[in-house]
């Protein structure tokens, strides 16, 4: 636990990347997220933990407005990225999502080649001027996704032919290919075996040098291993938010303590 605490202090967490103010989310009549206030730092890993259905994924999907695709979903309150309200009328969700990348629970590569999987984002955002540029972006993203060595000889093989762990790293590489500033990860390791999980966690740890990473996880060990800050959600409320070391060693709230010791969840 001392390691984690030390790791946490290494990073510059003083600048706030994302700040949520009085966020409420409704699914029809259901009040899914109740009054969440949270400040997420730049260049750090923030973990959201909590029992199933507590709203952590919902809140995560608010940060890149993926909830817009659900008709009955309504978001109140402000979420600011670099001080700009992302729910402002002037914000186009498509532009927002280029800035806030997302990795999903189940690896979901496009049924296309590995190359096309990575190149798709840069192509639609016009990040590459020519083929050489695009090749470079693809290679760089795959390297940052820690999967280059495994796929460099078969870039034109289908992405769906990779193993689960490789697929997930491919999805991470795809997400960072568009040069986002924030990377949202919704239980990225829940479909992976322990070895693949370890690889992805290692990758997340490297990613925090460039991105502000927000990860939703069911595994408290994982939260403890990879994150500097942890937020505990319960029944739609943000119960406790603080340094990871402090949440796991000295939780302030009774519910947090119950959850991390396994009494609720």
């Amino acid at each position: 636990m001392y390691d984690i605490a030390k790791m946490g202090t290494d990073v510059d967490q003083n600048t706030t990347k994302i700040s949520a103010r009085n966020v409420q989310v409704y699914y029809g009549d259901t009040h899914a997220i109740k009054d969440v206030n949270v400040e997420i730092g730049a260049r750090s890993v923030t973990a959201f933990i909590g029992p199933s259905g507590c709203g952590k994924s919902t809140f995560l999907r608010c940060i890149n407005r993926m909830n817009d695709t659900i008709d009955v979903c309504r978001v109140d309150g402000d979420i600011l990225i670099d001080g700009e309200d992302i729910y402002d009328k002037r914000v186009d969700p498509v532009q927002l999502r280029a800035k806030v990348g997302m990795v999903f629970q189940k690896p979901n590569p496009f049924p296309k080649s590995i190359y096309d999987n990575i190149a798709y984002g840069p192509r639609i955002h016009g990040l590459a001027k020519n083929k050489a540029d695009l090749d470079e972006i693809v290679e760089k993203s795959l390297r940052r996704g820690a999967i280059w060595n495994e796929v460099k000889d078969r870039l034109h093989a289908p992405g769906t032919g990779l193993s689960g762990g490789q697929q997930q790293r491919l999805c991470i590489a795809r997400a960072i290919a568009t040069e986002p500033e924030v990377l949202l990860m919704d239980e990225p390791c829940s479909a992976l075996d322990p070895i693949a999980t370890a690889q992805v966690e290692e990758l997340i740890d490297e990613l925090r040098n460039q991105f502000s990473v927000v990860i939703v996880t069911h595994s408290m060990q994982q939260a403890a291993r990879v994150s500097q800050k942890t937020a505990f959600f319960h029944l739609g409320n943000l119960v406790e938010y603080g340094d990871t070391s402090q949440i796991f060693t000295n939780p302030q709230d009774e519910r947090t303590e119950s959850y991390i010791t396994g009494r609720i969840g």
């Binding site: 890149n64 993926m66 695709t69 008709d71 498509v94 532009q95 999502r97 280029a98 990348g101 997302m102 990795v103 999903f104 189940k106 979901n108 590569p109 496009f110 049924p111 798709y120 984002g121 639609i124 955002h125 769906t160 999805c171 795809r174 997400a175 290919a177 568009t178």
Partner: protein, 449 residues
């Protein structure tokens, strides 16, 4: 000592696995009964299919062969072109009556040449030919005026009675009261067969030719109706596919889910169940009576069939779109694709095999549809020529394959009945190849995700 520690209580079996209890026996019996019913049902289905195919093939294959009489015809200049100028306008003035003597002459020559001994007058000999024989010859002369004066070998269509005699449909007993043919003429036919003048061969004109009048079943073909069907299918494809796919994409991916879209959805399903004749009368009222589009035109037929096919295409396209996993949409939106990009770059390619299958099945359905064509006048019309341009193909009156089949089945002469079955064979070949194409496309483009 407790009960648990006694080895016997655990070791003595309560029941034997080698003996089935009553309940298991009953369940097994029910299962075998169910399997038996299933097999019986499948056998009944197969039997029906075999009967159907056997009937169609045994009754319809006759339509693909036809009896012809091949003779040397002297194209007398004195009869066909008195002026000797080979002026086409003057040659055209000679009616089919002018050609009758040439045919009689050809018979005389054949009889002499082959040493056929017959009491028939040449006038009665000529009656074994089709009523269109003279016009057949006239058509040839008009197409080749330079042949006038020469003797050519010409293949005449035989009369449908003679054709029926060779196909076993007509016998000497069955013609007792028939005014069209006599037993003496049949004897003459036998002699001609022996001489090799008259024979039954494959008849390409049935597949590429046009329909003929009531009196000449031997000259009738389904070709022009096939072209009519083709033009209708082109109209259906050009309209129903883009409209159907666009409507489905909008409803499935973009439309808000509220009571209006619910009503639209329910009504599309209802439309799929509306009897096709209703679309026919709608087409009559809207396209012909109100919009004054030409009657009996494949364009109108295509429009009516488009209305009928749209619900099928919309329903299957929506099902195909729904079957694309949402994770693909999430993935595309997650890297910053707009909704339209997500749909067109990722969802639509994955749904394409399903859309294609639905479209082809819809087209096949439309191809076999008869009822709506009844109401817009595509039945009972005899189009004698192939359309020459695409515009003419769409707008000039024509029939369609199922309408032509219905028309033939309605006529009195049994030779037409045979042609109706032959038409069904051609229609079925089309349908089966379209469905096969659907299966192949589906296999080919199906991608895993």
């Amino acid at each position: 000592m407790t009960d648990v520690s006694q080895p016997n209580s655990a070791g003595t079996p309560q029941s034997s696995l080698h003996r089935l209890d009553a309940r298991t026996k009953r369940r097994n019996a029910a299962e075998s009964r169910f399997k038996f019913y299933g097999i019986v049902a499948i056998l009944i289905g197969l039997l029906m299919l075999v009967t159907l195919l056997y009937t169609i093939l045994s009754k319809g294959t006759g339509a693909f062969s036809q009896t012809f009489v091949t003779m040397q015809v002297e194209l007398l200049e004195s009869k066909l072109d008195k002026s000797g100028t080979r002026d086409l306008e003057k040659i055209k003035k000679v009616t089919t009556f002018g050609y009758a003597p040439l045919i009689k002459g050809a018979f005389e020559k054949s009889v002499l040449e082959h040493g056929i001994d017959t009491d028939l007058k040449t006038k009665d000999m000529a009656k074994i030919l089709s009523k269109s024989a003279a016009s057949q010859l006239r058509g040839y002369v008009i197409a080749n005026p330079d042949k006038i004066g020469e003797t050519i070998e010409f293949r005449f269509l035989a009369n449908s009675r003679v054709d029926g005699y060779l196909k076993g449909r007509v016998s000497r007993e069955s013609i007792a009261n028939d005014k069209n043919i006599t037993a003496a003429q049949l004897d003459f036919v036998d002699q001609l067969i022996a001489a090799g003048v008259l024979e039954k061969t494959f008849n390409i004109d049935f597949i590429i030719g046009a329909d003929a009048s009531d009196q000449r079943p031997e000259a009738a073909g389904i070709g022009v109706a096939m072209v009519g069907s083709l033009f209708m299918m082109l109209v259906v494809l050009a309209l129903a596919l883009p409209i159907g796919v666009a409507a489905s994409i909008y409803l499935e991916e973009f439309a808000p889910k509220n009571w209006i879209t619910d009503i639209i959805e329910v009504n599309i399903s209802n439309l799929a169940a509306v009897p096709s004749i209703v679309f026919g009368i709608l087409g009559l009222a809207v396209f012909i009576n109100y919009m004054h589009l030409p009657q009996s035109a494949p364009l109108v037929g295509g429009l009516v069939l488009t209305l009928m096919t749209l619900p099928t295409i919309i329903i299957s396209t929506r099902a195909a779109l729904k079957a694309v996993p949402p994770s693909i949409r999430d993935a595309a939106l997650g890297v910053g694709a707009s909704k339209m990009q997500a749909v067109f770059h990722h969802v639509l390619p994955l749904a394409a095999p399903g859309i294609l299958t639905g479209t082809i099945i819809g087209l096949a359905q439309a191809l076999g549809e008869t009822a709506p064509l009844l109401l817009i006048g595509m039945i009972g019309f005899i189009a004698s020529n192939m359309p020459e341009t695409i515009g003419e193909g769409l707008l000039s009156p024509n029939s369609a394959m199922p309408a032509q089949i219905y028309e033939w089945a309605k006529r009195a002469d049994p030779a037409f009945y045979e042609r109706a079955w032959g038409g069904i064979i051609i229609l079925l070949i089309f349908l089966i190849s379209m469905n096969t194409l659907a299966v192949i496309l589906r296999r080919r483009f199906e991608r895993r995700w």
